[in-house]
Symmetry: C2
Subunit: 243 residues, 2 copies
DNA sequence: CATTGGGGATTTGTCAGACATTTGAACGTA
DNA sequence: TACGTTCAAATGTCTGACAAATCCCCAATG
């Protein structure tokens, strides 16, 4: 029953140890040297390193070397209350900035019109932006709103980085709740591009539908978070005991 | 500004397409053949495939071939109410079974005693088990409880697969709430072993501290979920506008 | 002296080919 | 039929090589 571990598996364990022990930002030995130390070929070593790179634990640069990307400060937030990353960051004294930002004019797709309870093809605004922390992209946010909720002029003149904060300020009727769905997904191509990661890397995804006090949906958003930078928590109540 | 994409990046995109389009469970062409089709060497192809394998999208077997692991049915649960996976699964008509199960007798570590508000070294019981769905491991659960909450005899005789359900049944005083922390992490070695994945693969982690009606913590648990099998949602309320 | 422009060394990126190991199926034999 | 052998196919690993990017030192130049 002593299952033999393959060279690759053994190597991956050793690599994980090495990476965890290595100081953040430090440079790893060169591939030929490391392969010799680990007792494997360079090809096998590279296969193993790819997985760590795809998980954002390693950065490689041709002609330079391979570097350990250390764990960084995490954004810790309670999920019961809906607040923007910007507001949260300010509250806990964390510095975040907005990276790439764009908004486009669209006609509601089938999914969007369904979620927002509007007619197919109704005008909507799509807002996309990247959240940066310490000059690294950590989140990618996409909001879709009916145009009657947020017109382009208001967006252009009063947007400060957070759609949610803007909606809270100008919302009429005011906002009340959101239904948020939490999952882990593999990065779609456009998100991977924006966050400068590999397509297929794993992300924490919060899909939220935002309602005003009349119960009308006003915003359908996707928030893609880089794992490791965020810790979300929630108070849960014991449910009905069906047994 | 037209950034050149490396062979590897192009290959990964093509592979992602191929995998998404391929029927679930289908067999991929052999590595030499696929490498020729993609116009890359076998070594490069293998590097790219490793990342998909480490994310559970591919299964490879020496002497047999490489297979696409299709997206499977997801477990969809609201987070406001705390209920066991078993109860949830039963409610929505999903078949889950218990894989490996073990419990051990320990003395509380610093972290555990801190979380459970007991003395360092106090006797605790640690319960570990694997949740299976369609014969695949999908979650790994670890519960730590003070022995005065759950004694070994009760555990041995009345455990049906869920510590939470057991605590709800025998809890005295009854359970009330839990504080749950949601994050995405890279699989520690013992979890990777239990779930039959690679160390370092990304997992959804729910860390929960369970309280009874007296406000005493009675259970400190870690739930490791395989991404893709779970979708969790929550209703959030608009917070105070600090501005 | 400050700046620029070459080498050259180092490192990662990619490739070609080879052999080892595992598996499954076909085949032959008792 | 049942069982063991053989063999082809597929992944696992290794070796060696060259290409491309980067960095650093140093000489030439103003």
């Amino acid at each position: 029953m002593t299952e033999e571990r393959s060279t690759y598996q053994r190597l991956q364990t050793e690599l994980a140890d090495l990476i965890q022990k290595a100081p953040k930002g430090s440079k790893l030995p060169s591939e030929p040297l490391l392969a010799e130390q680990m007792g494997v070929s360079r090809a096998t070593l590279r296969e193993a390193m790819r997985t760590f790179e795809s998980q954002g634990m390693l950065k490689r640069q041709q002609g330079v070397g391979t570097f350990v990307v250390g764990p960084t400060q995490v954004i810790d937030s309670g999920l019961e209350v809906l607040e923007s990353i910007e507001t949260l960051a300010e509250r806990i004294g964390l510095e975040v900035t907005m990276g790439h930002f764009e908004f486009t004019h669209l006609q509601a797709s089938a999914r969007q019109s369904n979620k927002l309870v509007i007619a197919l093809g109704d005008p909507v605004i799509e807002v996309r932006r990247v959240i940066m922390m310490h000059d690294s992209p950590v989140a990618y946010l996409v909001d879709v709103l009916p145009e009657h909720v947020l017109d382009p002029e208001t967006l252009a003149t009063r947007f400060t980085g957070s759609v949610l904060d803007l909606l809270i300020t100008i919302g009429d009727p005011p906002l009340s709740t959101s239904k948020t769905e939490i999952s882990a997904i593999h990065a779609p191509v456009e998100v991977a591009k924006a966050l400068n990661i590999q397509r297929g890397d794993t992300l924490l995804l919060l899909r939220a539908l935002l309602f005003n006090e009349s119960g009308d949906p006003v915003d359908y958003s996707h928030s893609y978070f880089l794992p490791g930078y965020f810790r979300l928590h929630i108070i849960r109540k014991i449910g009905g005991v069906t047994t």
